[in-house]
């Protein structure tokens, strides 16, 4: 795998941000099924500022950029998503502190850092029917692929990630929520996918589809 350069990181982050903005309504609808419908709104309000302020961010260093985004999110995003996604970006930032060139292992480390941060902040784990149930399997799939073939090209890794995230997000449908607002509904949360998990999958798919130079972009 060619190391995910700073440009790749910028691409991924911007794509996540753009996906959040574009899917405000869709993500909200998903959250409305057993939640309160504001997930799309909350994410979009934060990430639209990320996009608007993008040019003012110092992007020379990955860790610094991620920290800046974490701060923007904690400042402007409310709900459960503000602290969770803010923490996720902060931990991703910490995982690559001081690095100038990013490798595939760094990508995995950032994602693992993000997941650990969410677990701690949310007092939650895989199996609780949250975005962790897409994020963690996706990270595992990336790590596995890179372990099998460290030279896997980045667009290929992105496709693996997207496939794993989508399958995992879909699989949340049969789970019962044990964290977040959806958990109040007990068994009634079974039968629809978790909004946060789907958001992770949609973001990963968009990243894979639009990866610069990728076939399907």
């Amino acid at each position: 795998m060619t190391s995910p350069s700073s440009a790749n990181l910028e691409f991924v982050v911007r794509t996540i941000a753009q996906t959040a903005v574009d899917n405000e309504r869709a993500f909200g609808e998903l959250d409305a099924v057993v939640g309160d419908g504001d997930f799309g709104y909350s994410l979009a309000r934060g990430f639209e500022i990320v996009l608007a302020d993008w040019d003012s961010f110092d992007r020379t260093e990955a860790s610094g950029l991620l920290q800046k985004i974490a701060l923007t999110i904690s400042k402007r995003v409310g709900g459960t998503s503000g602290p969770l996604w803010g923490t996720a970006f902060l931990r991703a930032s910490a995982a690559v502190k001081g690095k100038t060139e990013l490798t595939g292992e760094d990508a995995v480390a950032m994602l693992r850092g993000a997941a650990e941060g969410i677990k701690k902040r949310g007092n939650s784990d895989v199996g609780d029917k949250t975005l962790l149930d897409a994020l963690v399997p996706m990270t595992d799939a990336i790590a596995e692929r890179l372990a099998a073939d460290p030279a896997t090209p980045a667009p290929e890794v992105a496709k693996v990630a997207a496939g794993a995230a989508r399958a995992a997000a879909d699989a949340t449908t049969s789970m019962q929520a044990r964290r977040g607002r959806a958990s109040y509904t007990g068994e009634r949360s079974v039968g629809s996918p978790d909004a946060g998990a789907v958001a992770v999958a949609v973001m990963a798919e968009r990243v894979a589809q639009t990866w610069p130079g990728s076939a399907s972009s």
């Binding site: 609808e29 309160d36 709104y41 400042k75 409310g78 709900g79 503000g82 109040y184």
Partner: protein
């Protein structure tokens, strides 16, 4: 969506601006942090009381700011906990030598935002305690959930700690009172209709014309069960039974009874609910010492109601009877 709304993104700030314009001498709106505070806060001789939560529950909590109740409210967007940063800035603005009490309804997002903000503020030596309110009996408390939700019962905690703070109590004493009130307060609500968040522009859930949702959350979260529409008295009996048996409230108890409208129900109907609840309590040997009929903690325009009981003792009753001056008023 049939609402008085301009750009849905401005729903909360425009409401807060209106509230401040209507109360120029007593309230201050700080747009930077989406904050409503008493114009005379912080006061060095008094613990500051702050309640934060999503918007859409008005009069909770921005219209409960004033002498005898909150020193500030720190609302998020509709149904979304405020950003951590706003909470942190609010704590700093309201910090006093006697300390700050944060009142937080027990929801994941609110807990996290207030936890993080408290940590940040403590790092700057502000003396902060946080009290979680969880009066909703419709959610079973278990290790598999995040615990009960905080709903309309938060009014009683605000009122009691607000009165205690005004009397000059210190932070630990106020915290003790707040915890005690929360521990004897139980609520259950139900929806006749869904609510429509302005940003969504459509009802949050589908509730057929002949069905109601028992145990609904104040953010439109589904409740215990969906049942066929019933006469008012039967609805009241089911809500009241859930509330009474939970604590449990018992014959001989003296209680405060609140019938809270969820936003779209007229006060005429709330008194029909009150009538039944009062009579049913009397049948159980429970005396209504204080009553509250109206809107205290709403869910936007949802039609529906919740019933709250508080077991009174002399201390609580005296704090509830203390004066308070807030924006919801008749004159």
């Amino acid at each position: 969506m049939k609402k008085f709304v301009n750009d849905p993104k401005n729903y909360v700030p425009e409401m807060l601006e209106g509230l401040a314009l209507a109360n120029p001498d007593t309230l201050r709106y700080v747009p930077d942090y989406n904050l409503i505070m008493r114009a005379d806060a912080p006061r060095a001789d008094k613990v500051s009381i702050i309640q934060g939560s999503g918007s859409g529950h008005e009069p909770a909590h921005v219209m409960a700011v004033g002498p005898g109740m909150l020193d500030a409210a720190c609302p998020g967007d509709v149904f979304a906990a405020p950003p951590t940063d706003y909470v942190y800035e609010t704590i700093k603005l309201l910090g006093t030598p006697k300390g700050v009490l944060l009142l937080v309804n027990n929801y994941t997002g609110d807990r996290m935002a207030f936890d993080m903000a408290q940590e940040l503020a403590e790092a700057e030596d502000v003396n902060v305690r946080t009290l979680f309110i969880d009066d909703d009996v419709s959610v079973q408390d278990s290790t598999y959930t995040v615990g009960r939700r905080g709903v309309a019962g938060n009014f009683f905690v605000m009122k009691a700690v607000g009165a205690a703070a005004e009397r000059g109590a210190d932070l630990d004493e106020i915290y003790r009172i707040g915890e005690k009130v929360n521990s004897v307060t139980r609520t259950m609500g139900m929806a006749l209709t869904a609510c429509t968040p302005p940003a969504k522009g459509a009802p949050l859930f589908d509730l057929p014309a002949d069905e109601i949702e028992m145990g609904v959350g104040i953010h439109g979260e589904p409740g215990r069960r969906r049942v066929k529409l019933m006469p008012a008295d039967e609805i009241v009996d089911e809500l009241l039974d859930a509330v009474v048996t939970d604590l449990p409230f018992e014959s001989g108890d003296r209680v405060a009874l609140m019938v809270n409208g969820l936003g779209g129900t007229p006060i005429s109907e709330l008194y029909i609910v009150y009538r039944r609840a009062h009579n049913q309590l009397a049948d159980r040997g429970i005396t209504v010492g204080r009553n509250y009929v109206g809107e205290y903690c709403t869910s936007l325009d949802m039609a529906g109601a919740s019933i709250t009981l508080v077991r009174l003792d002399d201390e609580i009753e005296s704090l509830l009877a203390d004066p308070a001056e807030i924006a919801i008023r008749v004159f």
